[in-house]
């Protein structure tokens, strides 16, 4: 075995205790290659005993918090799978909201038309709902208590009969 081949084998060794028979024979008669093997063993030993750092003890807490908080693209939310009951409740809320909106849509949105329909009056300039009620012959009527008063109508906005 030539020194060049011996050097290559020595530096390729993952385990310095496992030498090929050819290398062992070469080392028996080659002081420089023996020195290289010893040096290589020492280098590996030094690096192998390199100081080991302990990770920050709060690192796991940070990781855990971040996993609970964030959801990387394409990843399942970690530990936060929503139960089916939650989804059902959410669906029920959405349905209820849709029903409420559709119910509200039956109430005329034009307050003038609504009030005119209620009071049987034509729209005029300005007006006091209490006066209108008096004009109708009703006394002590509080238009806000009238059952027929639409909820989205501001009685102070309706127009007085000329």
């Amino acid at each position: 075995m030539k020194c060049q081949d011996a050097e290559e084998e020595i530096l390729n060794l993952a385990d310095h205790s496992r030498l090929s028979p050819e290398l062992t024979a070469h080392l028996a008669q080659c002081a420089p290659c023996s020195a290289l093997l010893a040096e290589s063993e020492e280098v590996d030993l030094l690096f192998g005993t390199a100081p080991v750092l302990e990770p920050n003890p709060f690192l796991w807490t940070r990781i855990e918090s971040r996993l609970a908080r964030e959801k990387p693209p394409g990843a399942r939310r970690w530990g936060f799978a929503l139960p089916a009951s939650t989804w059902l409740a959410a669906a029920a809320l959405v349905l209820l909201s849709v029903l409420i909106v559709s119910f509200q849509s039956e109430i005329p949105l034009n307050p003038d038309l609504a009030l005119a329909e209620y009071a049987g009056l034509q729209s005029t300039d300005g007006g006091n709902p209490f006066l209108i009620a008096q004009a109708r012959g009703a006394s002590g009527i509080n238009p806000f208590l009238e059952a027929m008063m639409p909820r989205n109508v501001n009685p102070f906005r309706f127009q007085r009969e000329p």
Partner: protein, 208 residues
């Protein structure tokens, strides 16, 4: 480096539970691999602060995407691949900022790390300063492509076959790079060893 490495069956069970979102299993896996992964990243990137940041990123990504891991028994190598990718991405970002050539063969990564005075850190006060300094010099002198395989094989004691699973290169390529890294390390460590040898007679003279 690895403490109480689990049996393969236990590892598969742990990873399987982690894939279902079990936080206790994730915590156990973190406990098993945090220290070696943290040290692997530290030896590649060179600063404790960056190592902590990248360790956090590594485990966050691992547990976010563990459900995609098809072979639970390969968790350790998969985790190291994520860690290695995080280091490479960080170094590429640093290089883009400094607008320097990306030639790994000529420029060591240390030139791209800002504010290196931060490396005089409290942890060094607990370590063998001179040895640590020479280890760092040796790793700094290696291009990243050599440094990662050297750290995996020589410091973290992975077999060459395991190193190929992590870095995704052929056995021949890994062996060649470890060989080249050893040549660099040997030259630098020799100065440390020679200095230690020279120091001995002087110390004897002082003590006598």
């Amino acid at each position: 480096m690895f403490e109480k490495e689990p049996e393969r069956a236990d590892l598969v069970r742990l990873v399987g539970q982690a894939q279902k979102g079990d936080s206790e299993s994730c915590h156990t896996l973190y406990g098993l691999y945090a220290k070696p992964v943290h040290n692997f990243i530290f030896r590649l990137i060179g600063t404790v602060e960056d190592a902590e940041d990248l360790t956090q990123e590594t485990f966050f990504k691992a547990f976010s995407e563990v459900a995609k891991l098809r072979e639970p028994g390969q968790f350790k190598f998969w985790l190291y691949r994520i860690a290695r990718n995080e280091v490479y991405q960080r170094i590429r970002r640093l290089r883009r900022k400094t607008e320097v050539s990306l030639d790994d063969e000529e420029i060591g990564y240390r030139n791209f790390l800002p504010d290196q005075s931060r490396d005089v850190n409290p942890e060094e006060s607990l370590l063998n300063r001179e040895l640590e300094r020479h280890i760092r010099l040796a790793l700094d002198a290696m291009p990243l492509k050599l440094r990662d395989v050297f750290v995996l094989a020589v410091i973290q004691k992975f077999s060459y076959e395991e190193v190929t699973q992590i870095v995704g290169r052929s056995l021949l390529s890994v062996k060649t790079d470890i060989y080249r890294a050893r040549l660099i390390a040997k030259d630098i460590i020799r100065k440390y060893l020679d200095r230690e040898t020279d120091e001995m007679p002087r110390r004897r003279g002082r003590n006598s």
